[in-house]
């Protein structure tokens, strides 16, 4: 618990988390506002309210989470941390928990904020959250962010440099996994096992508007909750590798 408080003090005594949070909010909710404003009257759907949160703002959250680690390496405060907590692992886990929790809360705020704004801007659209799939689609954004934060921290610990970690995360999330689908025949089979594709699958609404959703056309072998567990499993596995490396490496 003490170490959680330490990481909370560290995170909130610098400015970048505030900026990243604000940016994620503006981009996530802002995109929904633009989509709602330009869509036909009464044609707004729940799936459309979450494009900003599940795609655009997620990238900002990944960057924020990676920064929480890489700035410590950049300014060598990681060494001060390891002097205070020579076990290293517990300090890094505490950081992961704090950042993932904040990412999760931020995800819920952006998701429900986007949904609420769309409801206000387009009152004639059917935006009621009735089914389990619809709840998952909106409320699941927080879970997605929390798992994404774990993954981003693992990459941050391994790479240690902001530029490198951010490049890897953004290319991986926004380009690489999508481009693999272009490979004839096997592409979509591989995609069914890629972490961010599974993350999208977890949010997918299914039903008639499936084609609107990212990850459409991929033949997933896992259930939607299975996909989230798979995404989380990869994030945790990567974190374990990062923790082992950080413990063995000279600081």
């Amino acid at each position: 618990m003490t170490l959680l408080a330490v990481e909370r003090i560290k995170l909130f005594s610098t400015r970048s988390p505030y900026w990243c949070t604000a940016l994620a909010l503006v981009l996530g909710v802002g995109l929904t506002a633009i989509i709602t404003g330009t869509s036909e009257k009464g044609q707004m759907s729940i799936g459309l309210t979450q494009l900003g949160s599940s795609q655009l703002a997620l990238a900002v959250v990944l960057v924020m989470s990676a920064l929480a680690v890489t700035t410590e390496y950049r300014f060598n405060t990681i060494r001060a941390t390891f002097l205070a907590v020579p076990g290293r692992t517990s300090a890094l886990i505490a950081k992961t928990v704090v950042v993932a929790f904040i990412a999760g809360v931020l995800g819920e705020i952006i998701a429900f904020g986007s949904w609420g704004l769309a409801k206000v801007m387009s009152p004639t659209s059917d935006l009621a959250i009735n089914t389990g799939a619809e709840w998952r689609h909106v409320a699941g954004v927080g879970l997605l962010y929390a798992v994404g934060a774990v993954l981003a921290i693992a990459v941050g610990i391994l790479v240690r440099q902001t530029a490198g970690a951010v490049a890897i995360l953004l290319v991986w999330n926004m380009l690489l996994e999508g481009l693999i689908g272009i490979i004839p025949k096997v592409g979509i089979k591989i995609q069914a096992w890629l972490p961010f594709q599974n993350a999208n699958h977890f949010l997918a609404l299914g039903g008639g508007n499936a084609a609107d959703q990212p990850g459409a056309g991929i033949d997933f072998k896992l259930s939607q909750w299975g996909s989230l567990a798979y995404f989380a499993g990869i994030a945790v596995a990567l974190l374990v590798v990062a923790l082992v490396v950080a413990k063995r490496r000279d600081a």
């Binding site: 003490t2 170490l3 408080a5 330490v6 003090i9 560290k10 005594s13 610098t14 400015r15 970048s16 700035t71 410590e72 300014f75 060598n76 405060t77 060494r79 001060a80 941390t81 390891f82 002097l83 205070a84 907590v85 020579p86 076990g87 300090a91 063995r248 000279d250 600081a251």
Partner: protein, 303 residues
Amino acid sequence: MIEAIGLTKRYGRTVAVDDLSFTVQPGRVTGFLGPNGAGKSTTMRMILGLDRPTAGRVLIDGKPYTELDRPLRTVGALLDAKWVHPNRSARAHLRWLAKSNGLPDNRVDAVLDAVGLTQVAGKNAGGFSLGMSQRLGIAAALLGDPKVLLFDEPVNGLDPEGILWIRTFMQNLAAEGRTVLVSSHLLSEMALTASELIVIGRGKLITQSSTAEFIDRSTGNSVLVRSPHLFKLGPLLVDKGFTVRDGDDGALSVSGATSDQIGDIAAANGVVLHELSPQRGSLEEAFMQLTGDAVEYHAEIGK
């Protein structure tokens, strides 16, 4: 007490620290001396568990650093004053450190006061001058009121006032019975600060002794004698077995004798003396002689 036993660190084929053994005793300031690149910082990082020794071990009060419970209460270290987030305030920096080792918040105010940073505690550490950063680093080291303190080149780049402040500060800490290890590449600085010296070059131990003994042994004493009757005094001194060489301006440089002995001989033989002065080789020269072979990066002097 700090105890290093056969400490070795290799980076690939480069040996940074080579089978280094020494002890640092409480109650005095111990200087850790060596040219740049001798392995001082690497050794300090190994003492603090940041770097993993390739071989050997180093113990603090009988335990490796990584096995200390809440280590800031036992060991305080200032390795680099710039290990702070530039956009975090000095107080916040100390607060998270204090929290991590279960130290009460009033310790933060106490150490800020001890180093004279209370006025600027709310300012971002990135805007601090080198002297202020150094003070913040010392405040962090003192947080847990530790028995063992390590400072890596603490006076580097400081103005005379800052140097004097740190020197006095470290001596006071040692006088309180703490173990204080200070690294430096400046012998003249260490001569004023430390009472015990550990000298290393190229990662190897050159010597460990008291500072006075080290200086006496390595500077080599000689006495400069000036007299109108040198032709008479010279042979007398040679007869006594002292080494006599011609010095500047027709003076004699005598080694192996004290000025007392030479004065007595001169008086006994009715020789008038115009000058009788003990000469000390410079500390830097002595240091160069000792570590001359052990400098990692050579630059030819005066060529």
